[in-house]
Amino acid sequence: MDFDRALELFEPVLGFEVHVELSTRTKMFLEAPNVFGAEPNTAIAPVDVGLPGSLPVVNEQAVRYSISLGLALGCSIAESSRFARKNYFYPDLAKNYQISQYDEPIAFDGEVEVELEDGRLFTVPIERAHMEEDAGKLTHVGGATGRIHGAEFSLVDYNRAGVPLVEIVTRPIVGAGRDAPELARAYVATIRDIVRALGVSEARMERGNLRCDANVSLRPHGQRELGTRTETKNVNSFRSVERAVRYEIQRQAAILADGGTIVQETRHWHEDTGTTSPGRPKSDADDYRYFPEPDLVPVVPSRALVEELRAALPEAPAAMRRRLKAEWGFTDAEFRDVVNAGLLSEIAETVREGAAPFQARKWWTGEIARIANAREVEPGSLVAPQHVSELIALVESGELTDRLARQVLEAVIDGEGAPHEVVESRGLAVVSDDGALLAAIDEALAAQPDVLDKIRDGKVQAAGAIIGAVMKAMGGSADAARVRELVLERARG
């Protein structure tokens, strides 16, 4: 059904479960390293593969990260928090139970301010943030879908098993209306910003550091009771979250408008077709036989620790955005472009290194974004903010022209060193030696003897031909403004 029509008939209610992989050095419950991309089944300890007699021990750093994240989400931190076992059989779950938290999560009752593209703020209520361990990874081989059904066999890699996760669960989010898809994207982006600002996760969705399950239900306008929801699993980019929510609203609206009922189930998101398909039926009666994890004692964070972590919290992303917009003096449109390009922290860092805000914006949204786009990578992964700042300073001081600076930037990106090192090794500095410039000018004048007369006759633009020739002769490493001055001096002669 058409999205507008769906919104006329129904009110969407959203809910999100976002899993954040913490970037601790070791795993949640033992000493195996927490690394991405290692050979399968090499970054494992006995507890990750559930060997008999192995025991979990809680990673203190993961607890600290979880508390920090809980605080950043405006949550209360539990005085005593317990792990529980979630029991179900699945080959990626070595023990056939997951150590998670159930009725005593580390953090609960928070809220997050989410900013929409037009600057409106939306408050998303957070029910809880709890600690748990990740499962291993299955690869289904054979069969057309890459899913377990139809596969000939499956491979399992336990490197990810036991990686610490925080699962952030929202309460039902009502009132988003037609903004629901955008809010979905903005919410996940906000969580990404928060965990990055905290430094608790790499938060790279393409690596699965940040994974989102999106719950969508519809109810007729004016109805209090919530409709039946679906849970679309593992929607792993901001854009996909937005599309998946939009698709589910339209799909459910069509069924409901037709007099049908929504099946409570998990659904799979298909990036290529932009649709969801049914997964397994899910009901609130799913029986995971939770019970307190007897191998672990409760986590009892001291008030002193909580306050220490609270004091160390970075500024909330929404508050930081408001502050930076004012400090930088950007227009609404300029600032929104920066935010939407995901370049806020890069520009902030560049400004902190000493660059003027408008220069930092110009380079990041201009040349760097262009190269990133061409190479299909994130701009932030190309070059360090301090190098951008250094580059800007070299232009400001006249040591580099814009054109030279772009060459230096490419060299920096290609790993040739810091800007000043590139300038030195490639000999790219602006030629500010008047003697060298004058020699080139005289050569050009000799080739075009009528130019001086034209200038003297008031046709100053004729100098352009000489400036062009000089720039060409010097391979671009001349300061065009200085060349112009010198040509005019010669004419005055």
Partner: protein
């Protein structure tokens, strides 16, 4: 050394062997060979061992060499030890007496095993048990029963029947057991040996193939209280690999036991008799010996007081919800995917089919029974009525203990309600089997330490009767002191250890001393 002189070595307590080793009157190789010979002679009948180490003599030789080099060795260096098969060992299969783990060799030692090795004890082998420590008779082993050295037609108790029988049959001076609801103490009671369940958290569970994590505790099995204390000193203490391990610094338990044999430690001691652990269901001869033991304590100056623990009557019910619940989860990992048995159904199948076929073939009936019980107890809609209620009972039992320990320094009861029963007697009646642990279960539910030691033979069947002593959590040392004092009083009466009365085993060379109590 003659064969009979060597067999004499097997009769000695670990403390005496340690003295002979320290003074270099015997070597560890001699002591170890004596026990290996004894195992070869009698274990065909007793079947205490599932696996006998082929490295024992080499280990012993290394200890002897270190001693000759003048190394500073620990008190039990060179003394052989038997290890319950529930404990992980890198050099021997560790199966928990289950088909599903047949032949599995772990890549790590249990912390307690590591500590035995670090203290230069000599592991002799792995002892039989009820599968995954589920049972009170060792009849549930997947690899055959263990026989009680006092009567080969009877059970040696369980789940640690192998460790108790090995020690009672002089195949090992000391052994390790694990006690979830009485698996160290009840076998000790029915084999005339000493068994100690430490305070929960006092001994590491790392490398213990888990039955019920909140109840399991490793402890020593021995023929004397001092020997148990010496082993406890080796294996106990904090382990960062076990979150539930207590950070406490513990006193020397051996010193505590020695103190019991030297002073008037029983005078003025308040001994609490638990009203609820007596009467119906207790064998007449057990009650006779128990009441005689109380008389002996009173004559030695102890003050006998009656205490009530009103919630103990619900202990078995609570235990048989909590234990299966935890076990059902702990045993979920045995699914054929990563280790252990794998059974593929005829014609292949999905991973679920393979898991199901493996668990069907790999687990025995008692294990399946408890997995089903536990899965049910944790199910949505039943959790509050079963697991939840059981946890509340657990709290009430802990309060009963707290109240009782205000009136008494130690609590006493028979260690088991009956003497050793015959094979098959309770096999078809799980409830009767479960009731055998009525005396021992409360200590596990409350996490307090318990000691079982022999107090004589029941007049009607001539089989050993055990006394259980319990102390508040962390007061393990008190039990060693009191236990050693009682042991000495009784041995004075008997004129030697009770095990001297055990009948000779067919393969053994030494006849038992004649005489009755």
């Amino acid at each position: 050394m003659t064969d009979s002189a060597r067999e004499e070595l097997t009769r000695l307590p670990a403390a005496d062997l340690a003295d002979l080793l320290r003074s270099k009157e015997v070597s560890s190789v001699e002591v170890t060979r004596a026990h290996l010979d004894r195992i070869a002679a009698v274990d065909g009948d007793v079947h205490a061992f599932l696996h006998v180490s082929d490295a024992a003599l080499a280990t012993a030789a290394k200890v002897d060499a270190a001693r000759i080099d003048g190394a500073d060795l620990s008190p039990l260096a060179g003394v052989p030890v038997a290890i319950k098969d529930v404990l992980c060992t890198t050099d021997m299969p560790s199966t928990a007496a289950s088909r599903i783990l047949e032949g599995w060799i772990p890549p790590y030692d249990a912390t307690v095993v590591r500590r035995l090795r670090d203290a230069d004890l000599v592991p002799l082998g792995k002892t039989n048990m009820d599968e995954f420590a589920m049972g009170s008779s060792t009849e549930h082993s997947a690899f055959g029963v263990t026989r009680n050295p006092w009567d080969l037609e009877r059970i040696p108790g369980g789940s640690g029947g192998g460790s108790a029988a090995a020690v009672a049959a002089f195949e090992a001076p000391v052994a390790l057991g694990s006690d979830t609801g009485g698996s160290i103490r009840q076998p000790a009671a029915v084999t005339g040996t000493v068994g100690f369940k430490p305070t929960y958290g006092g001994v590491s569970r790392f490398g213990v193939i888990a039955l019920a994590s909140s109840l399991d505790q490793v402890g020593p099995v021995a023929r004397t209280v001092l020997d148990a204390a010496l082993v406890h000193d080796v294996i106990g203490g904090h382990d960062p690999h076990d979150s539930t391990s207590l950070p406490d610094a513990w006193p020397s338990f051996a010193d505590a036991a020695r103190a019991g044999r030297t002073g008037e430690t029983l005078r003025g001691l308040r001994v609490g008799v638990i009203r609820e652990l007596d009467g119906e269901g207790f064998q007449a001869g057990v009650r006779t010996r128990f009441s005689e033991a109380l008389d002996l304590l009173a004559r030695a100056g102890a003050e006998i007081v009656e205490v009530s623990a009103p919630h103990f009557e619900y202990a078995i019910a609570a235990y048989y919800l909590i234990l299966p619940a935890e076990a059902s989860s702990n045993l979920a990992k045995y699914d054929s995917v990563r280790f252990g048995l794998r059974v593929t159904p005829p014609g292949g199948g999905t991973v679920e089919d393979v898991m199901a076929a493996t668990r069907e073939a790999g687990f025995g009936d008692e294990v399946k029974r408890r997995i089903i019980l536990g899965t049910y107890a944790l199910s949505a809609g039943y959790y509050d009525a079963y697991y939840g209620s059981a946890q509340k009972v657990r709290t009430l039992i802990q309060r009963d203990f707290t109240a009782a320990f205000e009136a008494a320094d130690v609590l006493v009861s028979p260690a088991a309600p009956t003497t050793a029963f015959r094979f098959g007697e309770k096999l078809d009646d799980p409830l009767a089997m479960y009731l055998n642990d009525v005396t021992t279960i409360p200590a596990n539910l409350a996490g307090v330490p318990g000691l079982a030691l022999p107090i004589g033979l029941a007049p009607e069947d001539g089989l050993p009767v055990g006394l259980q002593l319990m102390a508040p959590a962390r007061a393990d040392a008190r039990l060693y002191t009191v236990g050693a004092a009682i042991e000495q009083l009784l041995e004075d009466v008997w004129g030697g250890p009770l095990l001297a009365k055990a009948p000779a085993l067919p393969g053994g060379m030494l006849a038992a001393e004649e005489g009755a109590l």
